[in-house]
Amino acid sequence: MEFFRRVDIKKAITHNFWLKLAALIVAVFIWLYVSGLITSGGRNI
């Protein structure tokens, strides 16, 4: 509980915001790519 009390949600989001956003985009892309929803996910390589 002490840990959660110490976490500043606003700062956690705004800190390195653009880097977090870029990481999210890349993470979603990797997931979609591997799941085969974008291209064939390398399944036919």
């Binding site: 700062k11 956690a12 977090k20 870029a22 929803l37």
Partner: protein
Amino acid sequence: MELTRLMNWKAILEILILWGVVYRIFLFLKGTKAAYLLRGIMILIAALLAFQMLGLPILTRLLTYFFAFFLILVVIIFQPELREVLVHLGKRHIFYMEPEREEAERILKEIVSATGALSRKRTGALIALRREIGLKKYTESGVVLNADLSSELLQSIFYPSAPLHDGGVIIGEGKVLAASCLFPLSENQDLEKTTGMRHRAAVGLSENSDSLVITVSEENGSISLAINGQLTRDLTPNDLLTILRGQLAKPR
């Protein structure tokens, strides 16, 4: 349709884990030469999506092949960095970690105490406090220490006959990250002609990053602080502490 079928709590969990890992890698690469590689990957991703949307099957397939090959290449080229990323991953909170307030205060006091002592002894010093913008490029130019910060350590580094006294020290994450680092020299024409290389380096680094750079002149022991390309001279240790507290508490 297929997307809604695949999207469930497991998929969201997978994406969140991936996000954490990718973010840590980005954070690690920020400020290094490898950041250019990141840009390259982003361009590849954008091109792949564009080809897919435009319905260009040959280019899409070609890029898909290249992408798989490229990822293997990245793993080989950046093997030492990736190993370090994995080591760091276990050490920190995934998304955000701020040093405890007391710890931050202790670090500032150690820095100011060292600066005061160096000033009294007229020992030249150049100390950069890293903030948001990574200083990997400059850290790599010196000797990596990753040592716990103390006033004594800083004084020892800048001791005139010490091997690491030339160049600057970089402080970040409550540690002395590296010593003997080369900082870029400012080409600001407005600086006084008599401004020495150490002060020019302090201004140069503060122009190229959001770091706070402290200098101690070896000629007269005066303490200066460079922030965003502006040099404030002749500070007392107390002035320095007040400014540093203000700057580090400021939301950026």
